[in-house]
Amino acid sequence: MLIYTIRRLLISIPTLLFIAFVIFMLLELAPGDPMAQMPLTIPPEVKEKMRLALGLGEPWYVRFPLWLNQFFIVEPQYWIDSKFGTNFADGAQRIISFQSRSPVFDTIAQRMPQTLWVVGMSYVVGVLIALPIGIISAYRQYSVFDQAGTFVSMIGFSVPPFFSGVLLIVIFSVQLKWLPSIYDTTHVVTNWDSFVFQLRQMIMPVMVLALQTTAQVSRYMRASMLDNLTQDYVRTARAKGMSETTVVLKHVLRNSMIPVVTVIALGIPSIFGGAIITEQIFKVNGLGQLLIIALQGNDIPMVMTITFLLAVLIVMMNLIADVLYGILDPRIRYD
């Protein structure tokens, strides 16, 4: 298993380099100019100088290796320096955002907690709701509960967050005035009251996103449970005289979790990607919002770095899902 993991890690290096190249070239070939937002009063020759100052004067085959160097060598050095007080980086050029003129990684580090809190929490809540729904729906197939679960999943799949989010705001913020419609990222939890406030401002974005997750995961859980409930070994367990709880939770559920865990693991990168639309609706200034602003401003280093970080997460989660599969299912051995 260890050898397999190491081999997979090695294989992922060329994969990621290729992904980085594709993202870079897509941004390079796409129309758009970082100077487009600048006032028209700036003379063209000044604009040209600004462009050169941003490093855009060099051709792509110079800028791409430079970016790779910054991403893989300079930025980790800065990170180590900040952790251990060393001086590896020695003032080397960091990846700088075109818009804010501050290092891209600093901005990402600022935005990360908001996204992890809201989107990550919604993922956890979504999965926690989905698993019991899936289990009970399968165990009582075609019951009223199962039908209701199917209906909720259908809504989760078919109603996009830009509708459900706004709908919730209209109901709970505008009509009932129970919950704030804007997520205040500067809010700090210090006592019980501020904790309650934090809960209240989180409920709506979390539930909007959790609905999507629940819809997906509960379907997988149900299908996987149904698959296993009819297996012969379940009948064996019943014939052994095991209690129904043992049969369902030990025999059926453990076997059914294998594909579901994979689906859950593969969904994790999307947390870091943030929920672009939902973050916009509730004004959560997380990574999704950062990405969309960077896209609008043609902030190439920012877009490139966020997108590539997501690619790294996706590749890693794929690997983790595969390794989990091997751990959970004794029939699969990679060595």
Partner: protein, 335 residues
């Protein structure tokens, strides 16, 4: 050999297992598959009752229904002095140790995520108060009894061959010292060289532990080898039940005759003289059995009465039961 004074361990009376068919927009119940339709038989302590019949005649359903792995439609099942026909599944659990089952598919009937030891030990956890060390010792003894190396206890089922897996299934069934074991085509999934080993193992264990078997099979020569008495099923009903020798020497029911004539005769000179009864047509659907005798659509000696009246199942000679109009006229004990 067959002492009718012996008390039956298992006594089944008019057992019916109907599966509902739902169809249409509102999933209304439109009919039922009469998989087992009113069968009665006794299994005497220490004997092996063979249950034969073609695919889809309800053999396996019968075996599972006798152990109440299904909720039966109606009928009485007496096992070891307890009536279990209407007992709830929860109460039935405490009686499971008396009655066990060896399943057909040795791969599917073992939980792939449990080691051999865990599979065999699980019923001990549930139904006994042995210490961990005693349980492990018991597992070792059982593995010895079925001819498996004790060192394999920590392996998973997929690491074993079909024959070995079936031995695990048998060891599992034996774990709680049952009196009655239903063997549901235990050899059907094994290749011929292994079949004999497993059947001989079952015979040895019967002698060793004083077991009583209901041996379900479509392999007539294997049943002839292991069974004391043989019951022949056709379309959810027992058409004939007789001691082994009598049945193979002189089958009474036309269906039994046809079935036995299909067994290949190894001696070529005898093979020429033996007459092969080839049945015409297909087995009728158990959802819509013919009026009168179930076999009247294919019977070579069909009479008018067969198409209108259902034959009764009665003792035509001492120890021999059949359900056929051919034998009803010269026997007044019918009804």
């Amino acid at each position: 050999m067959l002492d009718t004074e012996q008390k039956p361990l298992v006594s089944v009376r008019d057992l019916k297992m109907h599966f509902p068919i739902h169809a249409g927009l509102l999933r209304r119940r439109v009919g039922e598959v009469k998989a087992v339709d009113g069968i009665s038989f006794d299994v005497i302590e220490g004997e092996t009752l063979g249950l034969v019949g073609e695919s889809g005649c309800g053999k396996s359903t019968c075996g599972r229904a006798v152990l109440r792995l299904y909720d039966i439609t109606s009928g009485e099942i007496m096992i070891d002095g307890d009536e279990i026909g209407a007992t709830s599944q929860a109460q039935l659990r405490t009686k499971r140790p008396t009655m066990q089952m060896v399943f057909q598919d040795p791969q599917a009937s073992l939980n792939p995520r449990m080691t051999v030891e865990a599979i065999i030990k699980e019923p001990l956890d549930e139904h006994t108060k042995l210490s961990e060390a005693e349980k492990r010792e018991k597992v070792g003894e059982l593995m010895d009894a079925v001819g498996l190396n004790r060192q394999f206890a920590k392996r998973y089922p997929q690491a074993f061959s079909g024959g070995q897996r079936q031995r695990i299934g048998i060891a599992r069934a034996l774990a709680l010292n049952p009196k009655f074991i239903v063997c549901d085509e235990p050899i059907a999934a094994l290749d011929v060289s292994i079949q004999a080993q497993v059947v001989n193992l079952l015979e040895d264990l019967q002698e060793q532990f004083g077991l009583t078997y209901l041996f379900i099979s479509h392999d007539l020569s294997m049943v002839r080898h292991i069974a004391t008495r043989v019951a022949v099923m056709y379309l959810g009903k027992i058409v004939e039940l007789a001691p082994r020798e009598a049945l193979y020497a002189e089958p009474l029911h036309p269906y039994t005759k046809a079935l036995l004539s299909a067994v290949p005769e190894p001696d070529p000179s005898l093979a020429k003289t033996s007459e092969r009864v080839v049945l015409q047509g297909d087995v009728p659907s158990p959802a819509n059995p013919p009026k009168g005798c179930n076999f009247c659509t294919r019977c070579p000696s069909v009479m008018d009465i067969c198409k209108t009246t259902e034959p009764t199942y009665f003792e035509v000679q001492p120890g021999r039961f059949t359900a056929c109009h051919l034998y009803e006229n010269n026997n007044d004990t019918a009804e």
